[in-house]
Subunit: 405 residues, 2 copies
């Protein structure tokens, strides 16, 4: 054990015998007594930045047009349940418009008694609300439908993020404008060049839809819809229209491009399901996951994220033997409805091959299905709404990879 | 009303008659149909930044040495309960050291069976925990002890912020090292030049103290202690030692500079209270607050923050008549222990002078005192732990100012 003692006789953590955690040592590192602490540091500052040595980043999609591409959240590097705004996933259809808060306006019209135009300042004077919600692109995990399943968690599942959103309830505006008879849907339109728009049921709009101007305590970031974004809790991300400029109350959905050619679910019988908005219960192990390597036997914290568009996560189960046995994970409290729930599971890795996975159960009792179960129902034509269980394999040498389909 | 209609016949929001919110209009603004939306926007990116037009910033303290100064969170511009890491308050004693995660180590020694040295990688392999906690400098609101009370909420109360922290429980490390008989306190020391250090009861260390490496989902920012910070929930911020490099378990507190000359409470009888760690229940209205101006009569959302080091906020009451009548505010759920709680109160401003304030009640039943009540007990020698009620005055012209003591 002498190599594990420094000059001053302290024991490197990994060399301490006994206890739960003996597997997780690093190589000894001799620390100079005054390392880095012999001069005054930097003074106070107006707006902080992260350490220059921190390089965690979104992964950019491979679409040749970066204006119509996506970027994914590094879910295996984020912690807790809040996604930093700077790392929130992106999916743009015509790039991020350079909008000004001062000039931006929201038009509310259609089947209302009084059509109204709101400035952002108008909206900020109305009763406000803040709530933590996940957003997930309907296409998140889409690679899992094919046999070429995702090799790592960021590229495969990183079109999901979670933030505390602040804004005005849409119901406040609808009540102010007054709904006319026959008002059953509303169309939300963005201020990007393609005027991205989606039809949504008025019932959802009256229930919990938010017009957000804030994310994680400050103004929305431009790529998240600055200065105004619709937030539709628990539903596919595409309907949370960014750069929101218009809400039109209507009797019927519009059946626009993003509701017909895209964002529909082709079933095995060749018919497409439309307006399948809610994201169903889902979870994924983020640590360890594809591309990682375990360096020591012994204690390993298995950790990941679970979420559901149908309320709260009730339970997450973890398997370390490829699905023979499922054990309950610990859930980070409080569990918020339609927000990420962090789960953690204590694992003792023996050094042998192990196949790990998680499955979520939401408060409705719905159980996240195995990939095969989902394929059996949905067939092989789907692009959206994959929520099957994701397996990772730990090899005897510690390398973690995806499990080929 | 014709001046409030645009060419296309929509009604500017403020001009809509009837309803709760008729007071909050802006001047009409003619919006061009294609304003800002006639070209492709910016593509996806690795790490987002805020809109260049957003200038919200910390306010820098006036200490002539920026390395031994503070900066305050703009509480009247933040939203919800999460403070963006970039706007979290600062209080440094010798500046922000430029530390490297790879080289940093934590020494745990003193009255333990096995002294241990941990790298950050070691700590990240241990069981992790995430929790949302406020941090508040003991000196926050200190200006209120004098007659020159704070003129605005940022300069007066901005030494308080709230984040989701992620790390390892100190109890995990203490259990691993093994406590010896007589282990009653521990000294936490930072990696800045002054080796900022504080003594803390081992009981608190075993209860809920966190060694945090994450804040709001990503690595700590340098000015918040990168790569490792002690987080002591609910207690004065100074004990949440940044750039943590050493924990020594001891029998008695050290009575060091920051525990004798500073961070003590001089009572009216000339005796100083030491080790008064917990922050008591407190609240402040952030909107509207000193320096703001109401532009219209009618609906005004009064909003603010409440917190207590003793658990959850149970209730917040708001007065709009200088304290004659107190009414219950709505509290943002979930109310988390030792975290910010956002409160909101619907106010109809008649256009006459009004004096507004909030008072918090925590789950122990403790009621935030009036400034005069606090002064009667604590006398005029105090610098720290002010938690009295803060009054703002709305003048007939809408200007909001502090109320002179």
């Amino acid at each position: 054990m002498s190599s594990d003692r420094t000059r001053r006789g302290w024991i490197k953590y990994g060399a301490a015998l006994g206890g739960l955690f003996t597997g997780c040592s690093t190589e000894p590192h001799e620390q100079s007594e005054d390392e880095g602490i012999n001069k005054l540091g930097k003074g106070v500052g107006l707006y902080g930045e992260r350490s220059p040595e921190q390089k965690v980043a979104r992964l950019l999609g491979t679409n040749k047009h970066p204006e119509a591409s996506s970027s994914t959240t590094p879910l295996d590097s984020t912690m807790g349940i809040v996604t930093p705004a700077a790392l929130h996933f992106e999916r743009h259809h015509a790039g991020v418009p350079a909008l000004s808060e001062k000039d931006h306006e929201l038009l509310l019209h259609g089947l209302v008694d009084t059509p109204l135009v709101f400035s952002i300042a108008d909206l900020k004077r109305l009763p406000s609300a803040s709530q933590t919600y996940f957003l997930e692109c309907a296409g998140n995990g889409g690679r899992e439908w094919s046999e070429k399943v995702a090799v790592d968690v960021q590229s495969g599942f990183g079109l999901a993020s979670c933030s505390e959103w602040t804004g005005v309830k849409l119901s406040t505006l609808l009540q102010e404008a007054g709904l006319k008879a026959g008002a059953q849907w509303f169309i939300a339109e963005g201020g990007d060049t393609c005027k991205m728009h989606r039809s949504l049921p008025i019932e959802k709009g009256l229930k919990d839809v938010l017009l957000a101007y804030g994310q994680n305590g400050e103004a929305l970031r431009p790529e998240q819809g600055y200065p105004l974004r619709l937030i539709v809790p628990g539903w596919e991300g595409n309907v949370s229209v960014k750069w929101l400029r218009q809400i039109k109350v209507v009797a019927e959905p519009l059946a626009s491009r993003e509701e017909t050619s895209k964002y529909t679910d082709m079933m095995p019988d060749g018919k497409a399901r439309q307006y399948t908005f809610a994201m169903e219960a889902k979870s994924v192990i983020t640590n360890p996951s594809g591309g990682h390597k375990l360096t020591k036997r012994g204690y390993v914290e298995i950790s990941g994220l679970a979420w559901t568009g149908k309320g709260r996560i009730e339970r997450v189960e973890v398997t370390t033997d490829g699905g023979k046995r499922w054990q309950q994970a610990k859930l980070q409290e409080p569990r918020l409805p339609m927000a990420f729930t962090r789960f953690r599971f204590d694992f003792h890795w023996s050094g042998e091959e192990a196949t790990i996975a998680s499955r979520a159960v939401d408060e409705s009792g719905y159980v996240q299905p195995a990939r095969e179960e989902l394929l059996a129902v949905r067939g092989g034509n789907s692009h959206y709404h994959f929520n099957g269980v994701k397996l990772w394999r730990i090899a005897a040498d510690g390398k973690v990879t995806h499990v080929e389909a």
